[in-house]
């Protein structure tokens, strides 16, 4: 009879994120990924995807093109972050990256508000991002991506200069999945 552990393991494995897509698309090289990120950092998702297609000789996955609408400014509102993070995460995965889902929380767990400074250095431009104690985003390499960063992404330190809570700088937590 199977031990409880072996009964549990398949279920746990099933709950884990899907295997890295890089294995399924072996022709994606490190240099393709690096060049993709350079073009993305310039804010040019379309050029990055076209370069990816040229280098790999295949059409970019639909999930990758969907990042385009995830980064739309219309998503710069409270309540959209989970949908955006899912889309950006899936997009990176489909291109052979290993993104990390992250969650930003106020430094005091009992606090609930997070706010984003729409224009850097202009506190008057701050809008509410969350009042239920969490904001989700995606970390790929050194950069954070969400609707507010757009396709260029932002370095964590720069990102945390713009994200505010009532009691100081929010904290970033790695998470396994989205709610």
């Amino acid at each position: 009879m199977a031990s409880p552990v072996s009964l549990v393991r398949p279920a746990l494995l099933g709950a884990l994120p899907t295997p890295p897509l890089a294995r399924a698309v072996p022709s994606i090289t490190e240099s393709t990924r690096a060049r993709f990120l350079v073009l993305l950092a310039q804010g040019n998702l379309r050029a990055a995807l076209e370069m990816w297609e040229t280098h790999t000789g295949r059409a970019a996955p639909r999930a990758a093109w969907a990042m385009h609408s995830a980064f739309d400014k219309a998503n710069q509102v409270a309540g959209a972050c989970i949908r955006v993070a899912r889309s950006v995460y899936d997009g990176f995965k489909s291109l052979g990256f290993q993104p990390q889902l992250v969650r930003f929380v106020p430094p005091s767990q009992a606090e609930e508000r997070l706010a984003w400074e729409m224009r850097a250095g202009v506190p008057q431009s701050t809008i509410q991002v969350s009042n239920n104690a969490q904001h989700y985003a995606v970390k790929q390499g050194e950069r954070i991506y969400d609707a507010f960063t757009g396709p260029t992404g932002m370095l964590l330190d720069d990102y945390l200069e713009r994200l505010h809570s009532p009691v100081g700088r929010p904290l970033m937590q790695a998470v396994e999945s989205l709610p």
Binding site: A110, Q124, N132
Partner: protein, 247 residues
């Protein structure tokens, strides 16, 4: 106003922190016995009750405690019960058809449900139902007054940050219930905020603003502009600080 101690410095006995959940359950009980929210909180609006709760946990935070019991409740309500969405303050009022009193009771009923569930479930089924280990509130010697929190809010709003970041909303009654919540937290831990009392007296003596009517007076002086009225009050706190000397 600095606290004077008799003889050699005596360290107070540490006081266990009482979560805002306890305060919310008390509020619920009093409301169920017919006491109106206007008397209990000084407001009948849901967002201003939330500011009261925020004031309470802010006092805890400034005095060495993160209210993990409240955080666990909130996580349960959000992740398990599915009743704490983004923009939950507005959604509670909407769900209750604009009836703020019902929205308040809705939140308070969730607190009661959570606490009852926690008591029934032993051992806890999930982390949200575990009671965090006890923590200690600052002793009176190290108590951080609400005036310090107001100075912090003043500094942030002077820099251009909106009032809602601190208060959740932008009305003078929200600032007022926030202060009440802060003071209530201190009171529950055996501390009277002497600096706040001295400031209140100074408002009466110097600006003829009685504590029980300063909301009305400040709004009149600000032509019903709530942001302006809040700025007036915070400016008074700063001006008073110059008279008060170092804390």
């Amino acid at each position: 106003m600095s606290r004077e101690l008799d003889g050699p410095a005596k360290l107070s006995e540490p006081v266990h922190y009482l979560s805002v959940l306890t305060e919310l359950l008390d509020l619920r009980s009093r409301a169920q016995h017919g006491q109106p929210f206007r008397l209990l909180l000084g407001s009948e609006r849901f967002e201003e009750m939330v500011a009261y709760k925020d004031g309470y946990v802010r006092c805890a935070w400034r005095n060495g405690v993160d209210d993990l019991e409240y955080a666990a409740f909130r996580d349960w309500l959000r992740d398990i019960r599915g009743e704490f969405p983004n923009d939950w303050v507005r959604s509670y009022v909407d769900i209750c058809g604009g009836d703020h009193e019902r929205a308040m009771m809705r939140l308070l009923d969730f607190v009661a449900e959570y606490v009852a569930l926690r008591q029934r479930t032993s051992p806890p089924e999930n982390p949200e139902l575990q009671v965090p280990p006890p923590t200690f509130f600052s002793p009176p010697e190290r108590y951080v007054s609400v005036l310090e929190e107001l100075r912090h809010i003043h500094s942030n709003t002077q820099r251009g940050f909106p009032f809602w970041l601190a208060l959740g909303t932008e009305t003078l009654p929200a600032l007022s219930t926030f202060i009440r919540g802060y003071l209530r937290c201190a009171e529950r831990h055996g501390i009277t905020d002497m600096r706040w009392l001295a400031f209140s007296q100074w408002l009466v003596d110097t600006h003829h603003l009685a504590t029980d009517s300063w909301e009305v007076s400040l709004l009149q002086r600000s032509n019903d502009d709530h942001i302006q009225a809040m700025r007036h009050l915070l400016d008074f706190v700063i001006t008073y600080g110059h008279h008060e000397g170092p804390p």
